[in-house]
Symmetry: C2
Subunit: 191 residues, 2 copies
């Protein structure tokens, strides 16, 4: 299989395109290889792209006024990642995107996405539905943060994302759960 075909078969599963369409869409993607520790996007920079993860693990985080890091999202194989708030509005990032396990990505610009949307309404539908799922998982996380104590949130995390847990450090999980590393350590001791 030709390398360019790989993008579409992975990203737009179950969709059928002509050769011309395939060529058009593939021309909008660019491959990137990252090493652990690499930063794809720094807070403050203009956000022009979103990233599809072929393999590896990344996270987005936010640094608050007191200097503390807060992990917003982890992302692994077959997930999309960006600072979406800034991406949608074409503004400067408040999040930093960092590679935490060697990764292989495809990036695509917002402009290219918009071109694809107008050329292929099916893809807009596909992304609207993805967005709806993200919306649902964000809402679930808000409820979880409001309603559950740290220990249960930790248990939820490791059961909901069993594939992510082994790829990330405990202090990443702590910053995702909104607690300190020390508190997470104490929670883990109780289990």
């Amino acid at each position: 299989m030709h390398n360019d075909d790989l993008i579409l078969t992975q990203i737009y599963k179950n969709m059928v395109f002509t050769t011309d369409e395939t060529t058009f869409i593939n021309s909008k993607f660019e491959n990137i290889v990252l090493k652990k520790g690499d930063v794809v996007l720094n807070a403050g920079e203009m956000v022009t792209h979103q990233y599809y993860i072929v393999d590896g693990c990344l996270r987005t985080y936010f640094i608050d006024l007191s200097g503390k890091e807060h992990t917003v999202q982890f992302a692994i194989k077959d997930w999309w990642i960006s600072d979406y708030t800034a991406f949608f509005a074409q503004k400067n990032a408040i999040l930093t995107i960092e590679c935490i396990q060697n990764a292989n990505l495809y990036k695509i610009s917002k402009n290219s996405m918009d071109e694809i949307y107008s050329a292929f309404p099916k893809i807009e539908t596909y992304f609207r539905k993805k967005m709806e799922k993200s919306f649902a998982s964000f809402q679930h996380r808000i409820l979880s943060n409001l309603a559950k104590p740290a220990k249960e949130r930790y248990l939820d995390f490791i059961t909901t994302y069993p594939h992510i847990e082994p790829l990330v450090k405990n202090y990443h999980i702590a910053s995702y759960l909104g607690i300190t590393t020390e508190s997470l350590s104490r929670i883990r001791k109780e289990l």
Copy 2:
């Protein structure tokens, strides 16, 4: 102006439709009048509709295992409200939608939305963008909950939603901020 025209001019501002299109879209909406205390949707029920608010104020809330209420969203004039997680997936609600100030709504079913989407891709784009904004505000709230102490979250709330604050009780705000009424009272005393 004929009453039916009102729906479209309010909801789909800046979009132009023919008479037939207007008739088609308007036929999908149904008007509802609610009084303070009325419940539009109960947790556990199938979620088939979303609601556009012409006037009044509603909220969605979640009741956790210990019986505590957690307000997920407030909504006023010109906002949409539903249990979107359940609405998108056509599942049973985990949220309850309650009217907290006499309200006038238009409701529309998911099926009707899908029909409108396929007939008018512009409307799908419009809703995708709305979804993107909701996504952004949810993310903002997650960051805010993780990064800021209760006092700042309260100040953020009253400055971000000055039109909502006078319509809701303090205990609603507390349950939105994730703190108790007593804590909110103490925070307010300090200001």
